[in-house]
């Protein structure tokens, strides 16, 4: 997993709440057995119409947001299906950070396993960033170490993050290798575990 600390980019304002993982990556793309290559299918049914033509109204298709690494959305981002294909698609498309007032649990967990930083800001702060980003391209600098998002207008937003997951992201740790250090505890638990 690639470590992450500072990300400097314009934001992509996705002004919707309850963005579910079925929208992030639609079921027709879940049959692949690889982890990579899902980016081109991200938000497929919003990006393309039934004939496969680009929907120019959709934010990801607008020229001013190309190259963005930071996605900003409304409440309850990533709800629904547990499919990790959703964060894989987000990462593969080029996003490293997602900012929203709240995230669905499984999606939130899945981000940490893939080197994506999910940032919770308040609804008011998200509304403000979305409004700025919709009005004209708005860049921010995300600093995980400092736990801040600093806008190009100087506005500073700070966020909380679980210290354990912060370390994981900063160091790009592989969680399974970490857990292997606790193998004796696992063994001890198994020895006394009750099973009928």
């Amino acid at each position: 997993m690639e470590p992450i600390n500072i990300v400097n980019s314009i934001i992509t304002p996705l002004d919707r709440k309850n963005v579910d993982t079925d929208q992030i990556i639609s079921k027709e793309f879940l049959k692949r057995i690889e982890r990579t290559g899902f980016g081109r299918f991200l938000f497929h049914h919003w990006r393309f119409d039934a004939q496969g033509n680009e929907n120019s109204d959709f934010v990801l298709n607008k020229p001013e947001y190309q190259g963005s690494q930071i996605l900003v959305a409304q409440d309850n981002f990533g709800c629904g299906s547990s499919r990790e294909h959703a964060p894989w698609a987000i990462l593969d498309y080029g996003f490293r950070v997602v900012i929203a007032p709240s995230f669905a649990d499984i999606f939130h967990n899945n981000c940490f396993k893939n080197g994506i930083l999910p940032i919770r800001l308040t609804e008011i702060e998200c509304d403000e960033i979305l409004a700025k980003g919709l009005a004209s391209p708005y860049s921010v600098e995300v600093n995980l170490e400092a736990q801040t998002v600093v806008g190009s207008d100087g506005k500073v937003y700070s966020f909380n993050i679980d210290p354990y997951y912060k370390q994981m992201l900063l160091n790009g740790w592989d969680e399974i290798s970490l857990t292997f250090q606790y193998e004796d505890y696992i063994k001890a638990y198994e020895d006394k575990r009750v099973a009928f």
Binding site: K17, N18, D20, D22, Q23, S26, K27, E28, L30, K31, R32, I33, E34, R35, H45, A50, Q74, D75, N76, C79, G80, S81, S82, R83, E84, P87, S102, A104, D105, I106, N109, N110, K113, N114, D162, P163, Y164, E175, I176, T179, F180, Y182, E183, Y185, I186, Y189, E190, R193, V194, A195, F196
Partner: protein
């Protein structure tokens, strides 16, 4: 100190605890399906790791499998994914209910059927509807593929203990009102984010009176309320369901197991971080009209209007949903005409669901212009239904009687609802495109789906139920 069931199960599964870190929790049962596992097995291979406890894993294929013309799988990519699971199960020594195996079915249907699902277990699966197994008083939750890989290699997960929420359903449910209506009413009342970050325990008289299959319907949709897991304390109903199931404790140790299970029930004076209450009497048969499971209302009601909402974002969400669904503000629910009926999915495809639907349609015909299919949740459910002759009732009425699998719940196989058409579905998600690009899904109970099949639009199923009585 009095504990609720979540605390009891959690505390007995902690392998390692340290301040400032999540707990390392032991996992008792790992269910596996073809869509969310291939990358996890590939990860093991790349790192040269083994499956720590293949004996605590059980795999099946459900999402991609065709429900007709088996064993032919036309879609080469789906076929590859299915074959990949078969190969992985073999390579890593994991039990598999393969295509054509009598145990095969939707993973959340077969776990309980086989008696793999038991009170007090921690159960995970790379699938958000793993919450279904909570009906037995198990701590069951969905995980991502990286976590699948973590469980395969260590049989544990790092988890921070979430706060708990009690949802108490008081009173008695009316005749013709289903478990599905309870959970849809809960989600409509408090929203799809109400449970976010919480584990929900469902309590109260109306819950106690439910059968195991009905409890599974409720717990299944916990994730639709955003909850990490949903469960119900075990009682005698739970114990009797498990007696003599294949993987349940044998006759010699069953009573001991049953006593242990019953001891896991939440203590009477335990507490929760949040408590919500709803009255069963106020719940009527439900129909969703929008593009998430909270956008639903009673069948006697109308589609909301923007005047019903105060915030601009809610008004715009209503607008987007109604545009997608092709509905008008204020339109009566009973005026919504449907072209498809899908009775199936891990929410409502068990024997009692099929019996209820068959009861409604017996001697009647599917309305002209409606395509109706029944997809039993597992091969064992299918066989049991056929033994009772339920398939004949469905076929005589004009339903198709399919092989088992996830089918039109998510339309990964050929069972797709065409663009712009409308489906009365007993599944759990009405997201945009869930059943097919542009497809319009209305979530309902099996009884409501059956009644809609006969009339071609939504009707209050209670009219049929009173006819039967």
């Amino acid at each position: 100190m009095a504990k609720n069931i979540v605390e009891k199960i959690w505390d007995s599964h902690v392998v390692y605890q340290e301040a400032g870190k999540p707990d390392l929790l032991y996992i008792d049962l790992h269910l596996i399906h073809e869509v969310t596992s291939p990358q996890a097995f590939e990860g093991l291979r790349l790192a040269g790791r083994k499956v720590r406890r293949p004996d605590l894993c059980f795999a099946t294929m459900d999402h991609n499998v065709p429900t007709k013309n088996l064993p032919t799988i036309n879609d080469p990519i789906a076929k590859k994914q299915i074959m990949t699971l078969a190969d992985n199960a073999k390579e890593f020594g994991i039990q598999l209910a393969d295509i054509g195996h009598p145990d095969q079915g939707i993973v959340h249907v077969i776990g309980p059927e086989l008696g793999l699902t038991q009170p007090g277990k921690t159960i995970v699966c790379g699938d958000s509807h793993t919450s279904t197994h909570g009906a037995f008083g198990a701590l069951a939750f969905g995980i991502g593929t990286s976590e699948v890989e973590h469980v395969l290699s260590t049989q544990t997960l790092w988890q921070s203990k979430p706060p708990t929420m009690e949802i108490r359903v008081n009173g008695q449910l009316g005749i013709g009102v289903a478990a599905k209506d309870i959970i849809l009413a809960i989600i409509a009342k408090w929203g799809i984010g109400v449970g976010t970050g919480h584990i929900v325990e469902y309590t109260g008289e109306a819950i106690r009176n439910l059968s195991m299959e009905e409890r599974m319907t409720i717990c299944n949709m916990s994730i639709e309320a955003g909850a990490k897991a949903g469960l119900i304390s075990p009682d005698q109903t739970t114990v009797e369901f498990l007696r003599e199931r294949r993987f349940a404790p044998s006759a010699e140790s069953f009573d001991e197991a049953a006593n242990y299970w019953l001891s896991l029930a939440s203590d009477t004076d335990c507490t929760y971080d949040v408590v919500l209450e709803i009255n069963a009497e106020e719940i009527e048969p439900f129909v969703t009209w929008g593009t998430n499971p909270s956008m639903g209302t009673g069948v006697s009601k109308t589609v909301p209007t923007s005047a019903d909402y105060t915030s601009e974002s809610d008004k715009s969400a209503l607008n987007k949903a109604l545009t997608y669904m092709g509905l008008e503000e204020g339109q009566p629910i009973s005026s919504i005409e449907i072209q498809h009926v899908f009775i199936g999915s891990c929410t409502n495809s068990r024997l009692s669901d099929l019996r209820t639907a068959a009861n409604i349609i017996e001697g009647k015909k599917v309305a002209p212009g409606v395509n109706a299919i029944v997809v039993p949740g597992s091969y064992s459910t299918k066989a049991a239904a056929e033994k009772e002759g339920l398939h004949k009732i469905f076929l005589d009425a004009g339903f198709e009687w399919r092989e088992s699998g996830c089918s039109a719940c998510l339309g990964m196989n050929e069972d797709i609802i065409p663009f712009g058409e409308r489906c009365a579905s007993t599944s759990n998600r009405n997201f945009e495109g869930r059943q097919g690009a542009g497809a319009r899904t209305h979530l309902v109970s099996p009884a409501m789906a059956a009644a809609a099949a006969i009339e071609g639009h939504f009707v209050d199923v209670r009219k049929y139920v009173t006819q039967v009585v």
